[in-house]
């Protein structure tokens, strides 16, 4: 019978949760790296026992951890992230130039085919690649060298490259997203990049339709339809069907279109999930109700999924890397909250139950479907 392994990064450590295919009873281990912020933990699709974790603290900086046994033991690997050349400046919050400074790794994306190849999305925004299992890192500097970097600016969480999507049908193609610069695409394995933000409209910018500067919170893709992407922007939920050449809004009947996470059903490319958050000034769920919204039509028409989720007195947020979907026949959906709950649905969102309720604030959730 298949199993699943959920990897949760929190403000004070990482947790590994395993269950059989029923996804009812869970074995939880952790905290791993207790006391550190774990922005992201993710497994290699090519070797599910190979995990990578981004461990950081204000005191001791960035560390990268690697496991070869599914999270039972870990080893510290390379943490030397050095920008290629003179990094230059980006915009500060007030629009003045500010020097590029490495702060932390937000997202680790292992290669689809090689367990030793892994990409890192970092703050201040840049993309790094390792081909030796995380021991050494080299910047894919074509992204920062695109020419628009001086107009990128930090969102409230910092100027982070937080999403990396690898196209399973084309190893030369990747999509990334940066807060607050927007989405970018490479068609040559990271040498050159193109901003793909046409159709985005952001009132927080002097030119709401500018090529770059948009605060994209998350993008998601179904592996069978890689020209279609879904986006949760600061405000607005959008989709593109031409690999980012043009986006259109699909917020439809959502109670608010502010939010962080967005993800796609494992077997239904037009079924997508978001968790609306009240506003950019009130980072908690609207009406004190924790509701996942599902669209079976690729957006515009949304239904609230509430069974098993708190429907009163709830004031949590769900951060951008904190939703994941397994690939069992009836796909599981998982998300973690800033209140420390990790919820699971074993029926594609119809019903929910907590795996655990009282972790430190959850920063990221990933899931591996294991044989």
């Amino acid at each position: 019978m298949s199993k699943v392994r959920v990897l949760a990064g929190t403000r004070k450590g990482a947790f590994v949760m395993e269950s059989d295919g029923k996804r009812e009873r869970w074995n939880i281990s952790g905290p791993h790296f207790a006391g550190f912020e774990l922005y992201h933990v993710k497994g290699s699709p090519a070797d599910p026992n190979r995990l990578y974790a981004s461990q950081s603290s204000s005191w001791f900086g960035q560390l990268i951890q690697r496991s070869n046994d599914g999270g039972k033991t870990w080893e510290t690997v390379g943490n030397k992230f050095v920008y290629d050349g003179v990094p230059g400046t980006h915009q500060w919050y007030d629009g003045t130039p500010h020097p590029w400074e490495f702060k932390r790794v937000w997202h680790l994306e292992p290669s689809l085919t090689d367990p030793d190849t892994v990409y890192a999305g970092v703050e201040d925004a840049a993309m790094f690649k390792s081909t030796d299992g995380g021991q050494t890192w080299e910047e894919l500097s074509g992204l920062r060298g695109h020419g628009s970097g001086s107009s990128w600016a930090p969102g409230a969480g910092g100027m982070c490259l937080h999403t990396i999507l690898l196209d399973p049908s084309n190893p030369q193609r990747m999509f990334i997203a940066i807060s607050a610069a927007g989405a970018f695409r490479t068609d040559d394995a990271g040498k050159t990049w193109k901003p793909i933000n046409r159709g985005l409209h952001s009132q927080t910018m002097p030119d709401p339709d500018a090529e770059v500067g948009h605060c994209v919170h998350r993008i998601a893709m179904h592996r069978s339809r890689t020209n279609t992407l879904f986006m949760q922007k600061h405000w607005d939920v959008l989709r593109t069907d031409n690999a980012g050449e043009l986006w259109k809004e699909v917020s439809g009947n959502l109670p608010t279109d502010f939010g962080f996470v967005i993800d796609v059903h494992a077997h239904e490319p037009e079924t997508i999930y978001v968790i609306p958050i009240k506003s950019d000034g009130e980072h908690f769920v609207p009406e004190a109700k924790l509701r996942v919204y599902r669209s079976r039509t690729g957006g515009n028409e949304w239904e609230a999924l509430t069974k098993g989720l708190p429907q009163s007195d709830c004031y949590v947020n769900v951060l951008r890397d904190a939703m994941a979907i397994d690939s069992l026949d009836k796909c599981g959906v998982y998300f973690g909250t800033t209140g420390g709950q990790v919820y699971a649905s074993a029926d594609a969102g119809d019903t929910w139950a907590p795996i655990v309720r009282d972790l430190p604030a959850v920063l990221s959730v990933e899931v591996q479907t294991l044989p």
Binding site: G35, S57, S58, W59, F60, L63, T76, N79, K80, V82
Partner: protein, 98 residues
């Protein structure tokens, strides 16, 4: 031998209990002690000082003999009591909440 006391998180990271004992060649300075520390425990590289500039991380401080040595030159000699092993070199995480 130079005695170094690490904060709890770095002891965990380096898989050590209690004080670290280091042999340091030549003058005993912050730089030579940290070089020896990082050589013996490579996982600590980058946690106390920048990989490239070697500047102390802002939330890390260095104490010895009841003195704050954080702002001394990294090449200044450490107190004799540290050099001869009577007193430890203390690496301290700044009190900053969290």
């Amino acid at each position: 031998m130079i005695r170094v006391v690490l904060p709890a998180h770095l002891r965990t990271l380096a898989h050590v209990d209690g004080e670290v004992m280091l042999a340091v060649e030549g003058p005993v300075t912050q730089r030579s002690v940290l070089d020896a520390l990082e050589a013996r425990y490579p996982m600590l590289s980058g946690t106390l000082r920048d990989h490239i500039t070697k500047q102390r991380r802002p939330f890390v401080r260095f104490f010895a003999c009841e003195e704050d040595l954080s702002h001394e030159s990294p090449d200044a000699p450490l107190p004799e009591a540290v050099a001869n092993g009577t007193e430890p070199f203390l690496v301290v995480g700044a009190i900053a909440g969290g």
